[in-house]
């Protein structure tokens, strides 16, 4: 499974005569938030030049630990040591000054500022008059980014670039400071396969420069490919720390989940069951969905009780299609018919009335309202139904919320806990509950398991399965090919905003999907890993 580079990137440690010295250590760190113990006596040692995986389910405390290490939070107990000396970071600035550099999960740069300004913010190159030397800044930024495979004009506003490119810029910024430690919180979640390769090459370079990397990811393949050691957290506690080579995948998964190995084996890798019967009339028919530059005559049908997978690379129009069906993307032309009735005006309100619910890709920006409680978030969309003459019945709310919290196994201290305090997986379930209590006929799921941990992932997958069995028509979008292929009964593959092919029955498989993608791929030069979204590639040509 692991390609040849793995050996270069991760030499077995037992050949080293001495264990490399520790760079950054957390010793017995504890951190509490209202109602939650986020970290309880957690220790972590990051050694010089090692690539250290930090894994755990969502809510295990990974993000909190990272924030403690990088000065965003201060630990309530325990201490941090840098090169053996106790340190205390009051702010991210101090951590960065001390050589601890971080790439956060969501890109944290300034969209309105140019790429070059973002890279050099706070440490701009100066000329003799102590003023910013823009020609030099642009030159250095372009040189730096070339090493990351980014050729976009560095004077463009960062926000006009694709998310993957923005992530590469964040990476370039993080490693270009004089860092001793680079912390990466799920750096690959928004990257294309080609960009992931670039990231791994950069991590290899960091490794050879004796820089320690703390790497957080949910993707097992990545961990086994690049990491030397790992630390496993569960429920805010340290479960295991040691060499990754000593653990096989099953042991790792069972450690993260706190279940027995045999149990994990029996349940398989994903939570999906068998296929569904769906030979009735389509509940949703879409034809000729078009929008300039984004969608080109997309047509599809969804049957009750089936899971239709929407395949394609990032930027192929998958999310746009889902949004169009939900009335959230204005179209130039196209019709959507639900249960025989054509929607005259395709707006979000009309789609919801017709029984179409969309679980959006970006749950932070488009989904949950972090400041509201679990209850409020769940009943938000159902308000009109729960109210009579504008007055909302609290008792009915509580009943619905209770039912869904139980059914979706939402872990929260109470229905009144703020959603922002829940883990990513639980936030996703809250969103799902919000749409399910509308009793939709069609459920559109855009990356329902992105950024959530293995356990919650399997639960969400099983839930999708269950819903389809109950007769819901589900549209599933996922970058995880395995999830897409196992979850879908049928696959429609998009490319460049148009339908490139459809796979049904036995043809629903990874190989077949790749074949469709590759058959229409933009110059098969680099094999499957060289595939890029056309929009993004074209955009970079401009550089």
């Amino acid at each position: 499974m692991a390609p040849p580079e793995a050996a270069a990137a991760a030499p077995p440690e037992d050949t080293d005569p001495a264990v490399p010295p520790a760079v950054l250590e957390a010793i017995g760190v504890g951190k509490r938030f209202p109602g939650v113990v986020a970290l309880d006596d957690v220790s972590l040692t990051l050694r010089q030049g090692e690539i250290h995986a930090l894994v755990g389910e969502n809510g295990a405390g990974k993000s909190t630990l990272i924030k403690v290490l990088t000065g965003v939070h201060r630990p309530d107990s325990g201490e941090l040591r840098l090169h053996g000396q106790p340190v205390s970071f009051a702010r991210p600035y101090e951590a960065q000054q001390a050589g601890v550099s971080t790439i956060y999960q969501e890109v944290n740069l300034v969209p309105l500022m140019s790429v070059a300004r973002n890279i050099f913010l706070g440490r701009e190159p100066k000329n003799r008059l102590r003023l910013i030397d823009f020609p030099r800044m642009h030159r250095e930024a372009a040189e730096l980014l070339a090493g990351f495979g980014v050729t976009a004009d560095v004077r463009r506003p960062l926000g006009s670039l694709g998310v993957g490119t923005q992530q590469m810029v964040a990476l370039a910024r993080a490693v270009s400071v004089q860092a001793r430690v680079v912390v990466m919180d799920e750096p690959t979640s928004a990257l294309e396969p080609r960009e992931v390769e670039t990231l791994f090459r950069v991590i290899g370079e960091l490794h050879s420069r004796q820089i320690a990397v703390l790497y957080v990811s949910h993707r097992m393949d990545e961990l086994y490919r690049i990491c030397d050691r790992l630390t496993v957290l569960r429920d805010g506690r340290l479960v295991h720390t040691g060499d990754l080579a000593d653990l096989d995948r099953m042991q790792l998964v069972s450690m993260m989940l706190g279940r027995e190995v045999a149990e994990v084996r029996r349940h398989g890798v994903t939570g999906f069951g068998e296929g569904h019967r769906a030979d009735r009339e389509p509940v949703l028919t879409a034809t000729g969905l078009s929008r300039r530059h984004q969608l080109d005559d997309v047509a599809l049908q969804l049957h009750p009780g089936e899971v239709l997978g929407l395949g394609g690379l990032l930027g192929s129009g998958r999310s746009e299609t889902a949004k169009a069906l939900a009335g959230a993307l204005p179209l130039d032309s196209g019709t959507v018919t639900v249960a025989g009735r054509r929607l005259r005006r395709l707006t979000s309100a009309a789609a919801i009335r017709a029984g179409i619910s969309l679980l959006p890709e970006d749950r932070k920006a488009e989904g949950v309202i972090p400041g509201l409680s679990v209850r409020e978030n769940i009943v938000l969309a159902a308000m009109p139904r729960l109210s009579r003459a504008g007055v909302v019945s609290r008792a009915r709310q509580d009943r619905i919320v209770e039912v869904f919290m139980k059914r979706l196994r939402i872990k929260a201290s109470s229905p009144e806990q703020k959603v922002g305090e829940l883990s990513g997986g639980n936030q996703q379930k809250v969103l799902l509950a919000r749409w399910l209590c509308l009793e939709p006929r069609v459920l559109l799921l855009d990356e329902p398991t992105r950024g959530i941990d293995v356990g919650a992932k399997a639960e969400v997958q099983a839930l999708v399965d269950e819903l389809a069995q109950e007769g819901l028509a589900v549209l599933l979008i996922s970058s995880d090919i395995e999830e897409l292929v196992e979850g879908a009964d049928r696959l429609v593959v998009l490319r460049g905003g148009a339908v490139a092919g459809e796979l049904t029955g036995d043809r629903v498989g990874e190989a077949e999907l790749l074949e469709v993608l590759a058959a229409h791929g933009p110059g098969a030069g680099g094999g499957t890993s060289g595939d890029t979204a056309p929009d993004e590639a074209a955009e970079e040509e401009q550089g």
């Binding site: 965003v72 300034v110 309105l112 706070g122 910013i132 506003p157 006009s160 530059h293 460049g496 040509e541």
Partner: protein
């Protein structure tokens, strides 16, 4: 990557639009960015050119001198406001601080030039510091904090002048009076000082780390914090600067008028905000320029001057026209910002 640039087979026509679209998007971004930055200047130029032909008395050097002196005080206040708005904040206190600076300068001018400048700067800087600390350290909303200091500074001012009963006069012929009334090459010192401050402001904003930090804080305060920028310090400093500039502008105005006027500067913060926004600075922060603000202030001044030239029109119409401009600009900004960020 090579294969992507090569001509594609006709079998996949769907590929052509994205590349062309990206090029078009880039052009659109450039144009939008240009309009956003230089649009006001073009409007100003057009208004000035047309007016010069229509009203013979408008295009004279004398009139230009008059207009620029009138505009110089507001422009200095608006300079500080530009920096504040770029960080995503707002400073409503500048009108009161302007008047306070004027009265303090007039009172102190009996002791010489230096006290007449330093006293208003110290007091107005302190007001700015209070604003900044309450906003950046205590996390209060800029609107509320500066509304409070607007009222407080005005109250302080009224008590200093005994409800306007006492007027402090600047000694005739003193160095301080000369600062407000003297001229060089026909242009008043306030104009030259304002131009110098704008050049300095432009350099600070565009060519220093502090200036970049202002954009970053306004663009995304969270990102700026995580990138290790001193966000709180930057915010405090920008309100201090705004207070200093407003106080200094008030002092200059007192020097020009030879006295500290109690009732001056009421509503000036709104004119300053209008000029800043007309100048293309985003009210939500993160983008803007001091040059735009300069043109915005001049545009407001020219409109007022034109209405005076017409004579038959009530001078209150100036506000109507300015208001109209503001709406046009804000609507245009919305579309321009979208064009700049879409691909």
């Amino acid at each position: 990557m090579k294969s992507l640039t090569s001509p594609r087979p006709a079998a996949v026509p769907a590929d052509a639009p994205p590349a062309a679209a990206a090029a078009a998007a880039l052009d659109r971004q450039r144009i939008a960015s240009l309009v956003q930055r230089q649009g006001v200047f073009a409007v100003l130029l057009a208004v000035v050119l047309v007016s010069s032909f229509v009203f013979p008395s408008f295009g004279t050097l004398d009139n230009a001198r008059g207009v620029t002196v009138q505009a110089s005080f507001l422009s200095v206040v608006a300079l500080g406001m530009t920096l504040v708005i770029i960080t995503g904040g707002i400073d409503l206190s500048v009108g009161s601080v302007f008047a306070l600076g004027g009265v303090l300068a007039a009172w102190a001018s009996q002791y010489g030039l230096l006290p007449a400048l330093l006293l208003p700067l110290a007091v107005c800087g302190a007001v700015g510091l209070l604003n900044g600390l309450l906003i950046a350290r205590a996390g209060m909303a800029p609107f509320i904090v500066t509304l409070a200091t607007l009222l407080a500074a005005r109250g302080l001012l009224l008590s200093l002048t005994h409800e306007g009963a006492t007027t402090y006069l600047v000694p005739r012929g003193s160095a301080f009076a000369e600062l407000g009334q003297g001229t060089l090459w026909g242009f008043g010192y306030p104009v030259l000082i304002a131009v110098a401050l704008f050049v300095l402001g432009g350099v600070v904003l565009q060519r220093t780390s502090f200036g970049q930090a202002l954009f970053a804080v306004g663009g995304s305060a969270d990102a700026a914090t995580l990138m290790g920028l001193p966000v709180a310090r930057t915010r405090v400093l920008v309100y201090v600067l705004s207070g200093l500039l407003a106080g200094f502008a008030g002092a200059l105005n007192a020097a020009r008028l030879s006295s500290g006027v109690t009732i001056i500067g009421v509503g000036m913060e709104l004119d300053a905000i209008a000029a800043v926004v007309i100048g293309g600075t985003l009210l939500v922060g993160g983008a803007g320029s001091v040059s735009g603000t300069l043109w915005g202030v001049l545009l407001l001044a020219v409109i007022q001057n034109l209405i005076n030239q017409i004579g038959s029109l009530n001078s209150s119409y100036q506000s109507v026209v300015s208001g109209g401009f503001l709406i046009v600009v804000v609507v245009a900004q919305r579309y321009l910002a979208r064009a700049r960020l879409t691909t």
